[in-house]
């Protein structure tokens, strides 16, 4: 099974924005930073399930739109006083296309 799935062009995500990918285990938010790095996180805030894809992206962090928890997109760890983490997924950009590692999702499916 191929592990990297081509999900979109980099241009499909606005800089400092996010788009969502539907998976059998729920949505994954794919973020693009101001300097064109891409991160993928589960689209559910560990606090109360807020859609992280709708948060404000700053540097390599995103602030949840519901109650302002801040997550480091690289590690998924909540920042500052809050504790908790959101699952991250391997993602990379090649030739302008965004490739998402799908194995993790599939594994979770069988687990």
């Amino acid at each position: 099974m191929s592990q990297l799935i081509d999900i979109a062009a980099l241009e499909d995500i606005p800089p400092q924005g996010a788009r969502v990918v539907r998976t059998p285990q729920g949505c994954v938010a794919v973020f693009r930073t101001a300097d064109d790095r891409v991160f993928a996180l589960d689209d559910r805030c560990p606090h109360k399930g807020g859609p992280l894809s709708e948060g404000i992206v700053h540097g390599t962090s995103v602030t949840c739109p519901l109650h302002n928890w801040v997550f480091d997109m690289a590690t998924g760890q909540a920042q500052g006083a809050d504790s908790g983490a959101v699952a991250t997924h391997a993602v990379r950009v090649e030739g302008g296309r965004i490739l998402l590692n799908h194995t993790v999702l599939a594994q979770r499916n069988t687990a």
Binding site: I5, I7, P15, G49, H58, G59, T63, T75
Partner: protein
């Protein structure tokens, strides 16, 4: 025994290689050198000074025909190699074959030309060799126009060179800021500002659509319809390794010609070096590593063991007066941290990127003197933990001294200048403080220090802290957020006084301490810029809170609530029908009447938003802005038309006010109420602005609230006509828009500035007229229905991909 060496390409890499080879192994090789350009070797880096007129071609030649002849090299300049016959070990030049024992391919790279319509017209050049440079020089007579496509290193050097010769130059850059690979938006902004000062026009986020012209280029057309006239178009959008010969000969080629540590290709008799190669997955676009390759290859050809190890490289922009240095890896990433230093007054920006205890990248603008020192730290991979606090200040502070931030100020002599705008020195400030000035305002009043641009406020406060010791309580007004030391008020003032018109400009010139701000300052800055520069500023969607970005209220389960505007709370059967249809079509789980007399559709899925908006637009309804820090509702009672008590047409006035004010962005939400008599059925006296109609006219009161705080409005003015009501309220709203800090509702702002002051402003005819005019101007831009705009682009609202099916396969 002499063996035959053929070299293809007389560029910077092969020139250096031959130099080393003749030093190390004189007479060992009989060399034939091909070059497509009709000349020997010159310093390609120096084409930029040639373009700008600082140097001539003769000054940049490194190896001319005479040099090669003296070394016994057979030069075939102006002759391109057209093929390699590996079996027979023959290189075919355009004018005949040559045999080899060893072959070196050093063909450099080819500029990338975007195949836009018109790209073959005469007058379109790349920036690669002397011919291109001469074409640009010729086209750069004063008064001529030139367009450079690409705002990277090369494009900017081309632009600056042509501008220096008098041409009118425009740079079109696809990305949001210049040199985005090397710089962050703030540093890109500094660079842009410096280039604009030299008269170069910069158009970022510009996608070129076509190059126009009949016999030669005449203009460049962008996707957004802008055209720029051009006598010459320089495309500087990138390069790619020139691998055609290697490909045709069947050598292993990835992005570049694949070579091992000895610069050997997949054919042991063929070597390659320079920009045309790929080593360990890496390409090379700067000369420093090529020179290392040249050394290794010369040694290999001389029979001495050597191996190439790529090192980090550093870049400088060779545009006189734009001091830019970047080295290493400076992208953000997992486990990386930034140290950012900005000195707005001097236009300096420095950013260091740390990974663990090592420095891995550095970007500097404005003051690059410490560049080599940082570069050395990057290359050596030294542990910088001990120096971390002072690292960004460079070698002068190395060793961890200066930990106390006040120490630097304490060390300043009395004649040191603190406030540049007003020329106030430290001694003057100290004297004022010793004379009794105990607050910042007092010091400002007495000395003028920090009274103009205000960027030295922090310094002035430090002088106060030093002089007063514990007697000094720092400014009670806290900074905007952890990204800056400035208060909201300072930021608003500085945006206007310094003419800052973009978020990166604010962050740079006001010394932001983070790279991209945070979720708290970005929406505030976006609002301030919209309010202050309605014509020039372009809204930044990504700096908006989700509700405003999606023009609907987000609910706890991630669905949205949609509220169409219902002017003054009045609706029609047709609108109600359209709403009912939408409820069925999008399976809206709940319909609710809001406290502001509007109908709320709760539980709409994000991907349905564009469709539901479009349906409402077709039924003549627009967004109710129920999500906005802007005008929300004007609640009305029935007034004279039906009510037996009504003194005026409160419904009609409410509708009129809503049509006047809708669409305007404000620091926080704004709600109005209009009641037809003092019975106040519209509850106008607990709104941000309330109007109560009475027999003699209209009582306008402000600063009410019915949220976390419950407040009764206080009277502002009583006027006689509806027209005056509209004038006073639009002036008052504009005053609030211009003055208040983000997220402060009207009552908080009025508490701070005082109702009397606000009343004076709107009562004074001249001030009122100015406010109304500025409000009107802003409304010409912002009074538009956001739904219409976004309904036209539904794709952006849906998921980009759906992997549920793929996983099932």
């Amino acid at each position: 025994m002499t063996r035959k060496l053929v070299v293809i390409g007389a560029g910077m890499a092969s020139g250096r290689m031959l130099e080393h080879l003749f030093d190390q192994a004189p007479g060992q090789w009989d060399v034939t050198l091909f070059n497509a350009e009709p000349r020997g070797n010159y310093n390609r880096l120096m084409l930029s000074p040639v373009l700008s007129g600082d140097k001539t071609y003769d000054q940049i030649v490194t190896h001319d025909t005479d040099w090669y002849l003296a070394q016994g090299v057979t030069c075939r300049f102006g002759e391109a190699v057209v093929g390699i016959d590996r079996g027979a070990r023959i290189v075919h030049g355009a004018r005949g074959p040559v045999e080899y024992d060893a072959l070196v391919i050093a063909t450099g790279s080819a500029p990338f030309i975007i195949p836009l319509p018109g790209h073959k017209l005469p007058g379109v050049v790349a920036y690669r060799d002397l011919e291109d440079t001469n074409a640009m020089i010729e086209a750069s007579r004063p008064g001529a126009t030139a367009v450079v496509i690409g705002g990277g290193l090369l494009g900017l050097e081309a632009a600056a060179g042509m501008a220096a010769r008098g041409a009118e130059v425009t740079v079109i850059h696809l990305m949001g800021h210049l040199m985005e690979r090397q710089l962050d938006p703030a540093a890109g902004y500094l660079l842009q500002r410096d280039l604009e000062k030299r008269g170069i026009r910069i158009h970022c986020k510009g996608a070129t659509k076509a190059i126009l012209g009949t016999d030669r280029v005449e203009a460049v057309l962008l996707e957004d319809g802008t055209t720029y006239p051009a006598d010459l178009v320089c495309m500087a959008v990138g390069i790619r390794p020139e691998t055609r010969l290697a490909n045709d000969a069947g050598l292993e080629v990835a992005r570049g010609i694949t070579v091992d540590d000895q610069m050997r290709t997949s054919d042991p008799a063929i070597f390659a070096l320079g920009e045309c190669v790929e080593h360990d997955g890496q390409l090379f676009g700067l000369v420093a590593p090529l020179y290392d390759q040249a050394k290794v290859l010369a040694a290999t050809l001389a029979g001495t063991p050597a191996a190439f190890m790529p090192l980090q490289t550093a870049t400088k922009l060779k545009v006189t007066g734009c001091d830019l240095f970047s080295a290493g890896d400076f992208a953000e990433g997992p486990g990386r941290e930034d140290i950012v230093f900005r000195d707005p007054g001097r236009g300096i920006y420095k950013r260091l990127i740390l990974e663990g205890d090592r420095l891995i990248g550095a970007v500097m603008y404005g003051d690059t003197a410490d560049g080599p020192w940082f570069f050395d730290k990057i290359r050596s991979g030294a542990d910088i933990t001990a120096d971390r606090d002072t690292l960004i200040f460079g070698p002068a502070f190395a060793g961890g001294a200066q930990a106390d931030p006040l120490a630097a100020v304490a060390a300043l002599p009395p004649e040191a200048e603190i406030c540049g705008c007003n020329g106030v020195c430290k001694g003057t400030i100290v004297t004022a403080i010793q004379g009794g000035a105990a607050t910042l305002d007092a010091v400002r009043g007495l000395t003028k220090a920090s009274a103009s641009c205000g960027t030295c406020t922090g310094l002035v406060e430090q002088v106060m802290a030093l002089t007063l010791g514990d007697g000094f309580a720092a400014n009670a007004n806290p900074p905007m957020c952890k990204c800056t030391d400035h208060t909201h008020e300072d930021v608003r003032r500085l945006i206007k006084s310094m003419g800052l018109k973009t978020i990166p400009a604010v962050m740079q010139d006001l010394g932001w301490k983070t790279v991209g701000g945070c979720a708290s300052c970005r929406p505030a800055l976006n609002y301030y810029l919209i309010a202050d520069w309605p014509l020039e500023y372009r809204d930044d969607r990504q700096s908006r809170f989700v509700n405003e970005r999606n023009h609907a209220n987000i609910q706890k389960d991630g669905t949205y609530s949609v509220v169409p505007r219902m002017w003054g709370g009045v609706t029609t059967s047709a609108e109600l029908r359209a709403i009912a249809d939408a409820v069925d079509r999008y399976a809206v789980p709940m319909i609710k009447v809001t406290g502001g007399q509007r109908i709320d559709l709760l539980g709409v899925r994000k991907e349905d938003l564009p469709a539901i908006w479009s349906d409402f637009n077709q039924a003549g309804m627009v967004s109710g802005h129920a999500y906005a820090k802007g005008l929300r509702t004007v609640k009305t009672c029935v007034g004279t038309d039906f009510c037996r008590f009504g003194t005026q047409d409160s419904t009609g006035l409410g509708i009129r006010l809503e049509k006047l004010l809708w669409g305007s962005w404000t620091p926080a939400k704004v709600k109005l109420g209009v009641s037809g008599c003092p019975r106040n059925c519209a509850e106008a006296t607990c709104k941000d602005i309330g109007v109560v109609c009475v027999d003699s006219g209209f009582q306008i009161s402000v600063a009410g609230a019915a949220g976390m705080d419950v407040r009764e409005t206080v009277p502002l003015l009583t006027v006689e006509t509806e027209d005056e009501v509209c004038d006073v309220i639009s002036a008052f709203v504009q005053l609030y828009r211009e003055q208040a800090r983000y997220l402060h509702r009207i009552y908080k702002w009025v508490d701070k500035v005082g109702l009397d002051w606000a009343r004076e402003q709107v009562a004074d005819p001249a001030t009122r007229a100015g406010l109304i005019e500025r409000f009107r101007l802003s409304q010409t831009i912002y009074q538009t229905d956001p739904w219409a705009e976004h309904a036209a682009r539904p794709d952006e609202w849906a998921p980009v991909a759906d992997l549920r099916l793929r996983a099932a396969e």
